[in-house]
């Protein structure tokens, strides 16, 4: 075990090279619906129990199934209304289980990125070769069902190994959503030396973290989204920022919650200098325009010297 994962160097949120997003936008705004499949009878993992009760864990399983049966269509309609294409964090087994959902998202030109095979199969305890195979399976499944290889990764159930990001970069990935250290994209050091980055995905704005872990009231969640946006929009005038709302169809789409989300989207998209985009588009743009500058700036700051 290491003291630090070693993916990035310290880089202060001041004196950075300025970012301008396409059309002079200040904020790159993306919504990342997690479209997940949880198993009723998953195998045991030595480090994490999938469910708090013995299988069948009806309460936990069934509310997540609600997301696919009921919630997905609700959220999709709201995103359509505001012209937002989702960037899907996908339990890739869902391509087999619920191809209708994949089809609906494909029609809308949404992005698909890998979130493992099932959200009840953790990375914990996998050998490097097993994790490589699991990632390859997820990448191949997305390519087979959507025609494009995924550019992004969010480890299943946010379960990681020390090699997770290296393995995804070796599988041809461009970006990770697993790190929460910044409000702008940052270069990530991977062992094959690939041009690989972190795109801000936000744990704080994640509906499941807000609702289930932090037990936030729905209207307050809506206000948090607006406040988060306001500050990133203001700061984006100096250098472009990224705002992400990670969602789950079984949380945000419940009848008592969707309004708060919709009002926040109405507010955010009502601003002129917002780039409504996807994870892959942010990654491509940053890699093409700012990645090299960022590497230089970080290196210049390594000894503590202030970079102007």
């Amino acid at each position: 075990m290491r003291e630090d994962p070693g993916y990035y160097d310290y880089w202060a949120y001041e004196n950075r090279p300025g970012i301008t997003w396409p059309n002079g936008a200040r904020v790159a705004f993306w919504v990342a619906p997690n479209i997940e499949f949880y198993e009723l009878n998953p195998p045991a993992n030595p480090q994490r129990a999938p469910w708090p009760q013995p299988n069948p864990a009806v309460p936990g399983y069934s509310i997540r199934d609600y997301g696919n049966r009921v919630g997905h269509m609700r959220q999709m309609r709201v995103l359509d209304k505001y012209g937002i294409r989702g960037s899907i964090s996908l339990s890739t087994a869902l391509c087999d289980h619920h191809p209708e959902i994949i089809e609906l998202c494909l029609e809308r030109d949404w992005e698909f990125f890998s979130h493992g095979i099932y959200n009840t199969r953790y990375t914990y305890g996998l050998s490097e070769q097993q994790e490589r195979e699991m990632i390859a399976d997820s990448v191949a499944t997305i390519e087979r069902h959507t025609g494009a290889r995924p550019a992004g990764y969010l480890a299943p159930a946010l379960s990681h190994s020390e090699q997770t990001l290296d393995l995804f970069a070796e599988a041809g990935g461009l970006y990770t959503c697993d790190l929460f250290h910044d409000d702008q994209p940052t270069p990530i050091r991977v062992r094959n030396g690939a041009r690989f980055i972190s795109i801000p995905y936000s744990l704080e704005m994640n509906d499941t973290i807000a609702y289930v872990v932090n037990k936030v009231e729905p209207r307050r969640y809506g206000q948090m989204l607006k406040d988060n946006f306001d500050r990133l929009y203001a700061e984006g005038a100096e250098s472009g920022t990224v705002m992400c709302i990670p969602t789950h169809n079984y949380q945000v789409s419940c009848p008592h919650r969707l309004k708060a989300f919709e009002e926040a989207l109405e507010y955010i998209t009502g601003h002129s200098q917002v780039w409504l985009t996807t994870g892959r588009e942010i990654a491509d743009y940053f890699l093409d325009h700012y990645y090299d500058q960022a590497l230089h700036a970080i290196a210049a700051q390594a000894g503590g010297g202030r970079s102007a």
Partner: protein
């Protein structure tokens, strides 16, 4: 470290669900349901009347709302009992004031212990459904089938005898089930059960002893969940139910009848400082056009007549 290769095998990775209990289907792909009188929203007020034994075993887990202190946990025993002695009578008054037709989900043990309460319910004519034996008699994965079969049959038979009602509905304590619970319910004449929270409308649920209907009783909108689990304010409870009501009414306008299910507990909302919030919620819902207050069984019957699978 290496896991057993089985960890990366997915025998149920296939079209549809990873089990054979029900058909995969999105709500928007189903035909719209019509409620009586052109109503858009069926209001299902589900009252849980519960008995939490003082000598709780907590097997295989401590039921939410149960005893948490060393024996004898008088504080929780008596505070839960408060609901059945005091809170429920505040509920009845509120229901009568707003013309609500509640559904009473009662533990059989409580029906035996409180004959006055049972008679009151019967005299009111409310529908009774079985909430299992008592709150510490849990159904759970790995439970011996014989033991569970006895539990299910005993709870249903005694409640039917005591109430004289057919008792067609079921909610497991803590909504916890074993892999055999649905079979045992169907074999014991249950028509619908309310444990699964994967839909906003009823759907057919397969068992080896015949078909059940899963009725959608929201856990996210439950009073205990919002107030005791999430520790939201009473104001937030009112907001969340009101928002859900208005959202479902609007959706029903486009997509056909919907159900607003309120799972409430007299030991939670029956407190003097909270009963007004229940009244506020009922006032909001009843002020809307197109709301049909009905018992779970009535909603089930209308749904079955329109969309139930042929017998």
């Amino acid at each position: 470290m290496t896991l057993d290769p089985q960890y990366l095998h997915y025998p149920r990775r296939r079209y549809g669900m990873d089990h054979d209990r029900y058909r995969w289907s999105m709500l928007t792909d189903r035909p719209p349901v019509q409620w009586p009188g052109g109503a858009r929203l069926a209001l299902w007020v589900n009252v849980a009347l519960q008995f939490f034994p003082l000598n709780q075993r907590g097997k295989p887990f401590k039921v939410p709302g149960g005893m948490t202190m060393p024996y004898p946990d008088l504080r929780h025993f008596s505070l839960r009992d408060y609901g059945n002695r005091v809170g429920i009578y505040r509920f009845f008054k509120a229901f009568d004031r707003y013309g609500i037709k509640p559904t009473i989900a009662i533990n059989t043990r409580l029906a035996e212990r409180a004959p006055y309460l049972l008679e009151k319910i019967l005299a009111r004519g409310d529908e009774i459904i079985c909430h299992g034996e008592h709150m510490d008699a849990l159904h759970y994965g790995g439970q011996a089938r014989e033991q569970e079969a006895e539990l299910v049959a005993g709870a249903l038979q005694r409640l039917r005898r005591l109430s004289g009602q057919p008792v067609r509905g079921w909610i497991s304590p803590a909504r916890s089930e074993s892999e055999n619970t649905p079979e045992l319910l169907a074999a014991n004449g249950v028509a619908y059960f309310c444990d699964w929270v994967n839909d906003d409308m009823p759907y057919a649920f397969h068992t080896d002893s015949g078909e059940l209907t899963a009725m959608p009783l929201s856990a996210e909108l439950e009073d205990r969940f919002i107030l005791m689990n999430n520790l939201h304010s009473e104001d937030a409870y009112v907001e969340q139910i009101s928002d859900a009501c208005d959202f479902l009414l609007a959706e029903a306008e486009r997509e056909g009848g919907r159900i607003l299910s309120l799972s409430i507990h007299p030991w939670v909302l029956g407190q003097p400082h909270r009963i007004g919030r229940l009244e506020q919620v009922l006032d909001h819902i009843c002020s809307r056009e197109g709301v049909w207050s009905a018992s779970a069984g009535e909603i089930f019957d209308v749904f079955q007549a329109q969309q139930g699978s042929p017998k």
